[in-house]
Symmetry: C2
Subunit: 115 residues, 2 copies
């Protein structure tokens, strides 16, 4: 199996931050080694004393759980939407328009609807 078959992406890093407390301790540990500490499957297997295949299975399962939680709760998506709106809010304030009050209010409503 190839390390690249498991997504060691920024997205997986973020999903791990949001949902790690919902994972089992084993899933959390292995995924942390793999995604946060950037160890390879082989290095983890060696450190923990199990087969590379077993490490792969744990991580694959953990990543699958993270995707499932995101599909159900959408925390990352909501976070990104909120961040985008906050950036727009910054822009509005900087320009100091005559219409600034209306625009800021509209943004606030959108932020509230995220939840």
């Amino acid at each position: 199996m190839n390390d690249e078959l498991l997504a060691k992406t920024n997205r997986m890093n973020l999903l791990f931050d949001f949902y790690e407390l919902l994972l089992t301790e084993k899933q959390r540990t292995f995924l942390s080694y793999y995604v946060h500490d950037d160890y390879s499957l082989g290095e983890i297997a060696e450190n923990v004393g199990i087969s590379r295949q077993a490490v792969y299975e744990h991580i694959k399962r953990a990543e699958s759980m993270l995707q499932e939680y995101e599909a159900k709760l959408g925390l990352l998506q909501k976070f990104e939407q909120r961040q985008k709106l906050m950036r727009e809010l910054d822009e509005v304030i900087v320009s100091l328009d005559d219409d600034y009050q209306t625009k800021v209010r509209l943004l606030i409503e959108q932020i509230e609807r995220i939840d």
Copy 2:
């Protein structure tokens, strides 16, 4: 057992809204009858054809899961914090202070830190 031993509160309603998709189908169904539709344990037992004790156990377990999710993810708490800050943001905008820009920026930072 007494219906009042299970918290049929507004808080439980909110927790249910946030985490219902993480519950099992049975937990979701029973808790929805009890908290959303306001049925009594007896009425649910009658409708579903199981004992009142069994209904009680399902709901107690479901509520316990909701509390556990909140302890881990804190979605309700974060939501309430966000709402509070949004209200303060409203106040700031309405007053149209000379310092409004600094105040609004400070609030935005606090909102971002919630996640």
